[in-house]
């Protein structure tokens, strides 16, 4: 095929794809918009083709990134990644055709300086959702930066450029000490600097850098241009975001600094937990991170530096998969607080929590909303059910930082529970099975089966034996 020898250009055809506009030409290769010569039925989205630079003068780095993307993308699905369409033989005509993700890159959104708080939080939560989607499929992006985040019109974030990615089920061909392109250096986690490529929490560090950037307009660690500059990542303490932007709320500083912990163990352990905290700021447990006014002093920095040299983060021994840090949602019927199923549901929850080291427990009670009721009355009802939830969960002894309680007023409990579960990346719903012929509870009968049938996650149905 002549195509492999002559550089392709607009109008050329390769394996049934017609090349359109050349949208990027860089060190790593070229990117064209493409269309199918015979439009297929399954593909109803725009396409792009990536062609790596091959031959003389092109670094092996670019090809490796290309090969990595080719390996990882076909293993992934969902709205958070470009859909994989086709690939050429790497040994003969290397190319890859993927979905052209329509939307605006976070880089473009940041061009005007820091974002309004609400927008920054919204985008960060969307990126956290995307990371959760990625991590639960066994992949780690490892090159997260505003350039590589496309916000779709729907607000959903898609991650692009998987050239540095790692997938648990595919060989990782990158050398341990990969060089980082200058644009990526500000976002690289400390463990990546040390050559560890298997820790999903590295992406949460990068998310923290982006959230810092979105809310302050500054980069927490600057833009190091050298490897020595990158090594600072192991010990340099960033200026607290509120010191740069005093109007930022404490809970946001808490979330950002927790993402930026140099020790991965001290960060969030799951992207789903970050997304949850961003969407429920009132439930973020505040620590000394939230009120920090200054970065570490010079002597403190010396200590941090010394420690980082003596114990260079150790290895990441058992990097947790996202499923090791599940979000568990328990539907608690606080309308019937004396129901016989409550102890059984609580016991089931206790058993599940005992199995996991790192979890987030969400209790949700759906109460019949009466939209016409006066606001004061509704507040009272809300508070009453919140107190019942707190009472319900007390015997489990869950730490405040892992627990959140929600009372939802709704006339459609099934829909509300399902919506709440999918909006918060819930991994498992625990719900009581309907009891026998109890007419008063017939309302819940349809809820349990509706949730079980339509949930996007696992559902644990707790049944009490009837005497």
């Amino acid at each position: 095929m002549a195509a492999a020898l002559e550089p392709l250009s607009q109008g050329d055809e390769l394996d049934g794809f017609v090349l359109g506009e050349l949208v990027h030409s860089g060190r790593m290769g070229r990117v064209f918009r493409v269309t199918q010569r015979k439009p297929g039925e399954a593909i109803d989205f725009p396409l792009l083709m990536k062609l790596p630079r091959t031959g003389r003068g092109s670094g092996a780095e670019g090809l490796l990134a290309f090969e990595t993307e080719l390996t990882v993308l076909p293993l992934l699905a969902g709205p958070h990644v470009p859909r994989f369409v086709a690939a050429g033989d790497l040994a003969r005509t290397p190319y890859v055709v993927v979905e052209w993700v329509e939307g605006t890159s976070l880089q473009a959104l940041l061009a005007g300086g820091p974002l309004a708080l609400e927008l920054a939080v919204q985008h960060a939560a969307a990126v956290a959702d995307a990371l959760h989607g990625l991590h639960s499929q066994g992949a780690i992006h490892l090159d997260l930066k505003p350039d590589n985040v496309i916000v779709r019109a729907s607000g959903v974030a898609a991650l692009i450029d998987f050239g540095m990615a790692h997938h648990a089920r595919a060989p990782d061909l990158h050398a341990e000490e990969s060089r980082y392109a200058a644009g990526s250096a500000p976002y690289v986690s400390p463990e990546q600097v040390l050559g560890i490529r298997t820790d999903p929490r590295s992406d949460l560090f990068a998310l923290g850098v982006m959230l810092y950037e979105m809310s302050t307009g500054k980069l927490p660690f600057g833009s190091p241009q050298t490897l020595a500059g990158l090594a600072d990542r192991l010990w340099v303490d960033p200026v607290p975001p509120r010191a740069r932007q005093p109007s930022l709320p404490q809970w946001l500083q808490e979330i950002i600094l927790r993402c930026l912990e140099p020790q991965a163990e001290r960060r969030y352990q799951s992207a789903a937990h970050v997304a949850f905290d961003l969407r429920h700021p009132e439930q973020v447990p505040l620590t000394e991170r939230s009120t920090k006014k200054h970065r570490a002093s010079v002597p403190q920095h010396l200590v941090r530096w010394w420690k980082s040299r003596r114990a260079p983060l150790a290895e990441a021994p058992h990097a947790p998969r996202s499923l090791d840090a599940p979000v568990i949602m328990v539907a608690v019927d606080t309308m019937h607080p004396d129901d016989v199923r409550h102890p059984a549901i609580r016991q089931a929850a206790a058993r599940l929590l005992a199995e996991t080291r790192e979890y987030r427990l969400i209790l949700v009670s759906v109460v019949r909303g009466e939209p016409v009721a006066p606001a004061a009355e509704r507040r009272g009802i809300h508070l009453e059910h919140l107190i019942r939830l707190r009472h319900w969960v007390a015997p489990l002894g869950v730490a405040a930082g892992r627990l959140s309680l929600h009372v939802i007023e709704s006339l459609s409990p099934t829909r509300s529970l399902l919506d709440f579960a999918s909006a918060n990346n819930v991994d498992l719903i625990v719900i009581g099975a309907p009891a026998g012929e109890q007419p008063a509870l017939s309302w819940w009968r349809s809820v349990a089966s509706g949730v079980t049938a339509n949930a996007h996650c696992s559902v644990h149905v707790v049944r009490v034996a009837e005497s």
């Binding site: 080719l70 390996t71 060989p171 990782d172 050398a175």
Partner: protein, 245 residues
């Protein structure tokens, strides 16, 4: 052509039959046996006859150190293993012994090389236990794909700029192995896995699609272990098969 790669059967008929059935159901049309048909297990004769039948139908077979020990002995092996070799020698027919003795140390076929241990000096039975050892084997074999066994583990090595990178495959998950770089696949052990899981290990290579898939296949390992005990062989060997250690 979809090729099933089976190594270190070690006279375990139950495990071999389970893998062959699984491979055929997965679309395998060709078979390669990467050595150590005998030793440890209690079905030396039956296993060799299955493999001889496959060889007549075009299967590739190379010699392992246990197969070699049938004719030449193996002073380096421990007592229990030497005992199982001596026992196997008695169980095999002269024709089966000749078949083992005549096996080549390595076979080359298209872009692939098949060898029990390392393609660098196959007769020394070197263990591929590091990326460096893998790299030596890949380069010595001068093939795109090097397939082997001997270490009883499933590992895939890729040649990269800086040397070789190691990957621990997940069962039944296909891996792209594009032919622009060298790959070395250790396909695991059919008859005596050693990672604490008794399920039999093997791999399927789909050359046209440049994909390799490693599998772990559950089989009746208790039956295989009972046969070892009933044959009067070392209880330790039965225990290893039953526990996958």
């Amino acid at each position: 052509m979809v090729l099933a790669l089976l190594s270190d059967v070690h006279a375990n008929l139950e495990a071999l039959e389970a893998c062959l059935k699984h491979a055929r159901e997965s679309g395998a049309t060709r078979f390669a046996f990467l050595g150590d048909l005998v030793g440890y297990g209690a079905d030396a004769g039956a296993v060799v006859s299955v493999v001889m039948r496959h060889a007549q139908e075009g299967a590739l077979v190379v010699k392992g150190n246990h197969d070699d020990a049938i004719a030449r002995g193996a002073p380096y092996m421990n007592d229990a293993v030497r005992e199982s070799i001596a026992w196997a020698r008695e169980q095999l027919t002269p024709e089966q012994r000749d078949f083992l003795a005549a096996l080549p140390l390595s076979r080359r076929d298209g872009r692939s090389i098949y060898v029990h241990a390392s393609a660098a000096n196959p007769q020394r039975w070197t263990y591929i236990d590091s990326p460096a050892a893998a790299l030596r084997s890949m380069r010595a074999g001068e093939a795109v794909y090097t397939f082997g066994g001997h270490v009883h583990e499933q590992v895939l090595y890729a040649e990269v700029e800086a040397g070789a990178k190691e990957h621990r495959p997940v069962s039944a998950s296909a891996i792209n192995v594009a032919s622009h770089r060298r790959w070395l696949a250790l396909v695991g052990s059919v008859g005596q896995p050693r990672d604490g899981r008794p399920a039999a290990g093997y791999a399927i290579f789909d050359e046209p699609r440049a994909r390799i898939t490693f599998y772990r296949v559950p089989y009746d390992h208790d039956a295989a272990a009972a046969k070892i005990r009933n044959a009067g062989l070392s209880a330790a060997l039965a225990y290893r098969v039953a526990r996958g250690v």
